[in-house]
Symmetry: C2
Subunit: 98 residues, 2 copies
Amino acid sequence: MIRHTVAFTLVHAPGSPEEQDFLTRGPELLRAIPGVTDFTVSRQVSPKSDFRFQFAMSFADEEAYAAYDAHPDHRGFVAERWQSEVARFEELDFVAYP
Amino acid sequence: MIRHTVAFTLVHAPGSPEEQDFLTRGPELLRAIPGVTDFTVSRQVSPKSDFRFQFAMSFADEEAYAAYDAHPDHRGFVAERWQSEVARFEELDFVAYP
């Protein structure tokens, strides 16, 4: 099991309709892609970081993760929204230790 | 519910006994602190980041989080191990959107 996470900050004003649209329509699209499980949308609330949101999702294995990455709906979302609406982001992926 | 996470890289050599000790004894101590739930230890596996591990835990509310932060076992772990064995870290805390 792999937990794929991305913390990000949007170019939109906090609380704006554009922010809300990104945070609701993005997940609607992405969580429907085959292999995606436990998709969550979070606010980042630590004052030690200026990231404001996080999308996170789980994949059973690397193959499912790769299929998501290559899926047209994912690629389209990145091209049409992510690249223009996200100001800064960080991807972290986790597997259980050890 | 607040998910408190910290991604980090140790000063120890990968696969060393010192690394293993930090990753097993730290969680043993921290997960026993009152208010801590769902404590996880993960490897960070995205090649897009050089953080190598993550501790994550949940708290019911800000009060439980603050009590953990102030707990002597947490403060002792930070002073005795974290400050000397962690090379770099990032804290991110999450609550469900909206």
